[in-house]
Each structure stands twice: as C-alpha cells, then as structure tokens.
Symmetry: C6
Subunit: 238 residues, 6 copies
C-alpha cells in the first residue's frame, strides 16, 4: 500500500521528496526573511488548482487578502479567477486585525482549527496554506502548551484530508540554529535559507524531514523567477 | 556472568554495541527532526516480535496508533498481524489527547510508569518503545523534578524486565550541544543526526553510552531504505 | 500589471532591487552604529524631493530636527528650502522629549500611525522616513504585542500610499545574528554593516528581502562620500 | 614534609598526578555521559580494598546498590565479598527514592555529610565515592548557597580523613565550556571526555587541578576494557 | 558650511576622524580593561588646555580626583597647575561615594546633566570627559529607560557647547560582541581593544562612528608611552 | 615623581609589569581551576616577608588557615615562623563557616573592609591577599550593588597603604570570555589560564592591566615547581 503523493507545483522540488508531498500531510516551511515562503505557498495553492484541479484554502495571518493577491499577480497567478471557479478561498485570520475590532473573537489554535474544518465542510478542500503560523504560536510562550496547540491544529487539519503547508520564521541566520518544537510535530519540514557558498550567497532549500518518504538530504539551489520558485535538484551548494 | 544481549533488529547496529542491547536496559534514542527515531523504534519492536518472538509495547505520545501503523506499512511491518498474534500492543499516552477529553487523567511520569507496569502484568513484555518522551518531560521545567520523574519512569520500566527505547528530541542542530540530564540517567544513549561531511550531508548514528558494553565511539552512516534503517558500521563520516 | 518602482536616490542601489523601491512599500533599513542609516534616509527624502518632486516626511525619534538639518548640510542637502517649497516636513516624535514636557501624550505605534496619517491628509505624501523605530519598539518587550504594534504601524503607513523607510539597530556585530521579527513583517529589508574582507574592513549593503522584486543576494560595498551614500553594485566583498 | 599519596587503582593515572591521589583530598570527577565515571569510582573503591586493604564507602545517588553491583561484575569486581570482609559498604542516598517513601528525610548537603561521618565512626574509612553529586547540587539553584553546600560537604568528608571522589556531570559537549563552581572548591579535578582527534573520536582524561601536586596538563587517552579503565599517559590526543 | 573640528590631543588619532573631533559632539570611548580609557580622557582634557587653551571638566565616577591626578603625573600632566590657571576643574560624581554619606543626593542622568550645566555656567567649558558612565547606566536595567537617560544626558551636554568624551566598558573580549544601545545614540564611537594578530597581541583603536566625518574604518595600533597614547594611523593590524 | 614598585616575589613576573607591582595598588588575579591562584598569593605574601621584610595579611575565604599552611609547606614556605616573627597573620573570613555558628556576623564588603583596616591598625601591613573574593561577591547578584561593594572594599584597602592581591574565578574556559566588572575597578589584572598551543596545553599568565605601568601584552608561560610559580617572560605561547 503506497503513500499517495501530490505534485507540489514547485518545479524541481517533487524529486527531492520521493515524487511529491504525501497527500494529507502537514508540512512546515521554515524560511529566513525574503526566502519566498509566501511565494511557495501561493504557488502550491495556485498550481494545485490551475494545473491539477485541486481546491485550496489560503489562511493569511500578517497580510490581507488584497496584499497576497497583488503580490502574486506578477507571477501571473490569478486567485480571483480561481475563486470564481470555486477552486479557491481566502481566510483572513490575523490576530492583529481581529483585535482591532473587525472580529471580536481571539485567535487560538482551537479556533483556527474549527475555522479550517468549517471551510472544509463547505467546500471539498484539497490544499491548505497557513502563512505564517508565527502570529499564532507567539501566543503560547510555554513550550508544553505550544506543543499541545500545534498538535491540536495538526489534528484539525488532518481531519479535513487536505495537504497543508504551514510557514514558520527562522530566528537565527546561518547554519547552526535551535531546532523548533514544531519541526518534530509536523509530518515534513522544508528549510529555505540564503547560504554562503565561497564568496557567493545563494538561496537553497533543504528537506529536513518528510514522513514516509526517501528524501534528498542535500541543500539544493532555487531561484525566484517570473513563474515563481524553481528548484535545481541536480546542483550542489558547497 | 555475562550481560545478556538482544538483537536490536537494526542491521549493522548490534556490532556497535557489543553484539546487542543489554536485556532490561533503558536506552535513549536522541535524534534531529526527520532522523528516523520512530522508524528505529518500530523496527526494534517489529523485528523483535517477527524475527525473535519477543512481545512488544509501543507507547505513542504525539501520534495516534493509526498514524504509526500507516507510516510503517511501506516498510512491510504489519503491526495488526503481530497484535492478533498476541505479540504486540499499542498504548496511546498523548497528554494532548488526554486533556481534550478522551481521558480525564493528567499524564505524569508516575502514571505512565503504572500504565507500563499494568501492561507488563497482562502480557509478558520483552520490548517497550516510548516515542517521544519530550511531551512528558516538558511538563517538568525544574531540572531537579525532571531528574526524579525520569528516575521514577526508569524504575518502573526496569521492574518489568523489558528492554526499552525512549526517544528524545535534540534542541540544537550541529555538533556542539548541551548535554541533556536524561543522557546521564539512561543506561544507553544513541544519537541520530545529519552531519556535514565535506560538501555532503549524511545521516550518522553515534553510540554515546551503553552500560556494560564496549562501544564503538565513531559516528557511522545509516540510511533509511525500504526495509527501514541500515547502519554501515565499517564506514567513516569525516 | 507591473509593480511601480521609485528611484531610491542612492546611486547604485536601485539596480540591486529590480530598478527601484516598490511604491507604497515599507522597507526596513537595519544598520550597525555609524553605518549611515540617517544619511540613507535623508538622501532618500532629499533626492526624492529635489530630483523627482516627491514630497517627504521625516520622523525623527532620537535627534531633533536641528540635529538632522545640521548633520546633512555637508552633503549639500537643504531641507529648509524643500520645506519652504512645500515638498518636505519634519515630525519630532521622540518619546524621550515627549515625556520631558513638550508633549503630554505617550508615544505608541497607534499614535505614531495617526500622526503619520494626519500629515498625509494635510500634504500629499510620497515618501516617509522614520528614524529609528527602536525608541518605539523597545516599549513592547513582549514579542506578540510587538508584532501587533509593527503591523498596526505598517497598516497606517500603507493607508497613506507613501513609500517608507524605517531604520532599526542591529544588536550583534558580525555575520551571525538573530533575525528580528520586524524583518518578517516589512515589505523589504536592507542591511548595512562593516564586514571584514581579508585584512580590510569595508562597508557593505545587502538586500535581504524586497517583495515583488528579483533582488541581488550579494553584499555590495558602499562609501559615504561628499554626496552621501554610493553603492558599487558590480563589486564583491569577499 | 611530603604529601602522602594513595594509588588510584587506575593503571596509568597515578603518573599524571604526581604518583597518586593526595590522601584525604576530595577530587571531582567530571565526565560526559558514557565516559565511565561510575567505573572509575568503582575501580578506585574496589582496587583500594582488594589490592591495598583500604576500606571504602560507595554512596549511590541515581542507581541502586544492586545496579552498581551488577554493572561492575563484568570487570570481575565482587563488592559482596569485600562487604563480607568488612572492607566495603554501600549507602543509597538517592533523593528520588527518599521522597517516594523509603525514607522520610529530605537529602541536604548537611545530612549527607552527617551520614558520611556516621559511617566513618562505625568503620575506619579510607576511601569514599559519591556518584553523582548532581542529584544533590541541583537542589541549590542559588550559586551562593551551592558554594556553601559544597564547602559543608567537603568539610564533613575532610573530617573523616578518607580520600574521596565526587562525580559531576558536564553540561556542554566539546572543548569550550562553563567552569563549574565545584571545580574551584574541590582539591582536585579530573575531566573525562570524548574528543575528536582528526576524523576519530577518542576518550581522554585531563587533570585540571590537583592541590599539592605537579600535574600532567595534557589530555591522555584511556580505554574501558575488561579490567576497567586504563590510561595511556605517554600518548597524545591531537 | 563646514563642521568645526578640534584636535583630540592624541597623536595620530585626528587623521582617522577627518582632522579632529567635531566640536560640540558627544563621543563614546569603549575599551577593554587596561586599554587606557582614562589616559585617553586625561590626554584629551590636558592637551586641550595646555596646548590649545581649551578649558576642561573631568567628571570622575569610580576613582577620586586624587587617584586621577596621581596616575596621570607620570605622563607629565599637571592638572593642579591647569586648575590654578582656571582652565580645568574636577567633579567627583561617584554614586558609590555619594551613597556612603558625602552627599545625600542619588545620582541620576538628570542630576548629572544639571551638574554639568552648572559647571558650564560658572566657567566657559570647551571639553568634558565623563569616566566611566557605566556606574550611572547600570542603574537603568530597562533598555527603554536607559535610552532616555542617555538622550537626556547627551541633551544636557549639547546645551553647553562643549566637546565631550564618555567612557564605557566592553562586556565581552574578542571581536564578536553585542552592540550597546549607547553606540547608536552617541555622535561618535571609538573602540579600544587588545587584538590578536598572528602570535602577537597588540592594542588597536577603531573608529566605529563619527557623525559628519569621513572615517578610517580600519583598526590601527596604538601604544601607551611616556607621553600618553600615540596612534599609528598608517599601520595595519592583521 | 615615579610610582614606587614592590617585587612580586614571583620570578619572571616583575619584568612584565614595569619592574614590580605599584605599591598600594589592588591587583586582581583571575585564574582557572588549578591555575595556582593560591600559590601565587602565598608566594607574594611569603617572599614579601621572608625576602623583603614586608609584613603580610592572608584573608582566606574557602579554606582554613590550616589548609593553606599545609598546602604551602611543600614549597618550603613556613607561615608559622613568619607569624612568630610578627611579619604575618591569617584572617579566616569564610562566609560559610561564619554562618554555621563560629561567628554570628554576616560577611559584607563593608565588614571585610573594616576587618582589614582593623588589622592594619594593629600591625603595619605591607601586603594583603584576599583569596578568593568570589565567596563575597556572589552575595551581590545585582551588578550595580556589586560595583559599589567592590569600590568600597578597594577604598578600605587603599586606606591601609598595603599592596593587595584579590583572586577571582574565571567562569568560562578558553580565550573568548565575558569581562567581569571587577576588572574595570581594580588597579591591575593578571590572568592565569591553561592555553592550547598546537597539540600542547601550557599554563600562561597575561597582564591585562596595571595602572601607571608599561605592561607586556603577550601571554607568557609559567610553571608551578618546587619553589612555587616561575614565569618565563622571554618565551611565547603560540
């Protein structure tokens, strides 16, 4: 009984993770500032819908729906059209905007989980992106409560059957870093960084983890071009 | 009077620890995200039962029994069959799931110890895996209480006579790291990491400690393949 | 639909950020002591007005309007004339001076946002510089509140339509450093440092992030000369 | 007036410390997990009794008397026989086991000191091993109280006239580390580590301190073999 | 309109800072223990008075006026004579001595600022040295209050029109270090360290910052000789 | 007017500090465990009395008078004879022993200062050693109070006119380290460490600071031999 895999929509990435992301898994996308976390999520959702007919939900936390749409237009990704086709929807779950009056409910992992499940009931959801979860997790300074919040959120997502990307911020630049508790709980972890290779700085993606998958352990260069992110899985960094 | 050793079920590992894991010892398996801690535990339990007729208990903490079973199926490990044969059982001891209503009792080291002993009374237990203990230990922020909790848990496990693996998360990637108090209290410690060897990243296992055993001090490469983990004890990393 | 870009006013910089700074974006300028953050902001505002007819607002936080004017005179930048021409205005938002009696209102991100919007109502604002935001952000020791304060300030700035630079202090010298939460929330990030290149110390600017922009990832040398900052985008550091 | 020295019972070690450990001194044995601290203590006590007729007390803190006896049997050390000969005794001073009911008294440095003195009154004590003191010291988070607790314990031990080893855990692996306050208060300090020497990991002992003694400053390799620990004082590590 | 510069009185230093220190600026002198911060301050004040007829105020914080006078006599600097000539005065502002009864007023940045202004009213002040400000700043553990205290002190000094040196202690030896908030607020920063250059240790001064000035970015060696500090601006360190 | 210098009593050291230690100065001796801080202090006091007729006071903090006397006997230093000759006296100022009943007064910097002054009144004191001050300083966790305590102690010592060594513990091994506040307040600082030189570990002394003195900046090797510490001021370490 094989694990079913879905195309990520990122050229060159699927070969690093055994042919695609395991359907129904929750994958953490950790990246430095400017590494293209939002582009990767948008590309995953957009190409899933436009190329593979998979419906998607994009949960924004720090930016508005208008921000995302405008920023993704240069890549030729038209979320408005996908939405009209019933293949896409946005959820603005910013705890900042919630507090300032547009919604009275405080954001918790439980509440976000419910929202995601509610969307899944209304619409057959294949893909979810939550970008970034930092805004949510900073509300749980205690590591034990944070573990439970993440597990609860993962549980809710799993119940929908959708494949999900969660973006998370890296707190220290460079190669040595603290491992985040989230990396242990997610089914997969991708790390996006700018690494120094001799006298040059290059962007690289490394698969830290992908359950049920024989992964490529090496960091591979990627570029952000006119069609979004492209990974070069045959090239080396160092 | 020789120490009795049991085969770990991991090809290549037994030679690093004097021929096998000392029967009745509690061994810590520390690993980075994606290092295969759950695979190692499952392989230890499955091969113990399927190849050596040793009965096993798998205590899950972050994932459900269904998660583990599904994730291990690609390796051809059929825990359902072993369970039917009376050689295997699962215990879901997630403190997260416990709190959200499926069980009203709060998880403590003492209570987990009792549960393990109760299983051992019902069934002759040869092998135990508790994966991961992080969920339990994060509840003891005070290092003095944490020591006592671990010692109490080890005490309970020792009383069953079974050989036990406990998995623990590594908090910093790279070679320099803080030593965890658990490493001093367990009878053995295995460390699973992805190390940089020149321009290449490879997975390596290092035996930090194994009481009563002449150990191989060098880190050795391992791969996660179709049959689980295989260690290459003749190869070097650097 | 292309992103509109404005000339930064810093020779050599625009080529590193796809031809110019995206209009309406909020860009963080992080720099070590003496790296020229105030010069860069003044040059952005002055040249925007003098060369491109764009009106500007300079929000000072640690220094007075007189300090800035006097310090920028050697570069030949005459803010008094621009002010007389209706192309420029100063806002002294120092929380230090506010407390000592000149104003009774305590500075918050919300209040600063209101002030900026009030200026934008009175005057068509094209460019804003807030230098430095540290004085504001140190008042939010909790990272979750700090995120919200920054998002609220960015929201207010966005509403004006102006392009904005915010300066921030770097807390550790050298290449390895903690990533600040602000870097994730701003639309762009420039980093100004003194790097050691062999036996020589040189000033270098690196574009960490610029939304909607294909950026130059390499650090590039810059000098502070009689006309302000000049970047050498063809030269390498290491 | 020469300092009297006793043979440590560890082949190769005495030459590193001027011919033997000064009689009546309190020596700290710091070691990483799996470095053989318990083996070194047992060898010191066993060989002292079996080869030199010196009576010994072994204070266990984390393990039981049965654990130690069983683990040391492969080295051919029969503590039961020594006990029958009146040359040896065990004291189980585990604060963990004390709290769970076997004894109602809470362990303090003062109380442990009294216990040691009580044993010394009943039996002419030549050697003492307390393994490990971590369980005791973790109860004094304040460094000023911790200093006093250690000084009080050392005072009590000195009063017995016996030569004593105290084992302590190292909290960071690798060469750079924080110095523990205990290292300043003990009369001698031995450090047991696994060091990387080129592409190889080797065990090494280094004498940091030994009052009244001309010490060998270099780390020297050691192995744990069928007769316990052997140090190679003529070999170098790097 | 050129910035007016004054000779520092330190041979070799003025060339590193565009010909001299900008008149009226507040310059931070950061140095390791034994780097000669007090010598540099005394030389600045003495030579300013003796060679250029500029009147000076020396604010001592940890030492007494007698200490400074005695320690500077070997350099041939006679502060008593300058005082008699009305070109120099001492202010003992030690918070330690204040508390122990000689003065009942607690030292704050505001009060020190008032004292400095009071001196400036009585005497035309050209130069001020406050050595060290650490004793004052340690009283503001909150970074936000510390910023305000420094800004308030700088404000008071600016009001006098005098050029001022403030000495500050470096908390970590070596090249990587935390940037202090003071470095962002002062108009200039000089750093005095002992650096390792191959197998040799040498003293080096580096100009981190000097507003309105084209600075030499390289560290330059200096020596403390019979006439005080001499900088060698043509020599390199590494 | 030359600074008067006294011979340290340590062969090879005086040449590193301009011919001797400035009379009446307070010099900090910082050293790693086993570096010989107590030997250096004893040698300073003993040789001062035996060779130069200077009277000395030795303040012990962690050890007893008997400990020191016994440990120094192998070097041939007979403190009993010096005491009988009226050239030497001991003061046991251990806060540990004070608390446990032998004295009811709590040790503070003020009280230690009074004691030292009281001794100086009874006996013409030329030299003082306080070994170590850690036991005293750990009682001032607040850095601002700690500064005042040290200044107060230095003040009291200065009042006696005696030359004084204070020993202090180094908290991190290796070359990079935090600078202690004491290093800024003392008149001189000597650092005793074991440094790695190629594949060899050697003891080295470095003069960090010595007011009024042209110092040797290089670390120099030293050995602890039958006559105490000997420094080799012509040899290099690296």
């Amino acid at each position: 009984m094989e694990i079913e895999r879905i195309p990520s929509g990122i050229p060159g990435l699927d070969g690093m993770v055994g042919g695609g992301i395991p359907r129904g898994h929750v994958v953490l996308v950790m990246g430095e500032p400017g590494s293209g976390k939002t582009i990767l999520c948008s590309q995953f959702i957009h190409n899933g819908a436009a190329l593979h007919g998979e419906s998607g939900l994009y949960v924004t936390m720090d930016e508005t729906r208008e921000d995302i749409q405008r920023e993704m237009r240069p890549f030729g990704w038209d979320f408005g059209k996908l939405e009209a086709d019933g293949l896409f929807t946005f959820l603005d779950a910013s705890p900042f905007r919630s507090r300032s009056g547009r919604s009275s409910k405080h954001l918790t992992a439980a509440r976000l989980g419910e929202e995601v499940r509610r969307f899944a009931r209304d619409m057959e959801l294949d893909r979810i992106a939550i970008d970034p979860v930092a805004a949510l997790l900073f509300q749980y300074p205690d590591v034990s409560e944070r573990r439970n919040a993440i597990l609860q959120l993962i549980d809710s997502i799993r119940a929908t059957g959708a494949t999900c990307l969660l973006t998370l911020e890296i707190r220290v630049s460079g190669y040595e870093r603290d491992v985040q508790v989230e990396e242990y709980l997610a089914h997969g972890v991708l790390i996006l960084r700018t690494l120094r290779s001799g006298s040059n700085f290059v962007r690289a993606v490394q698969v830290e983890k992908m359950r049920g998958t024989k992964i490529d352990l090496q960091p591979r260069p990627y570029v952000i071009g006119p069609d979004g992110i492209t990974v070069y899985p045959e090239e080396t960094i160092f």
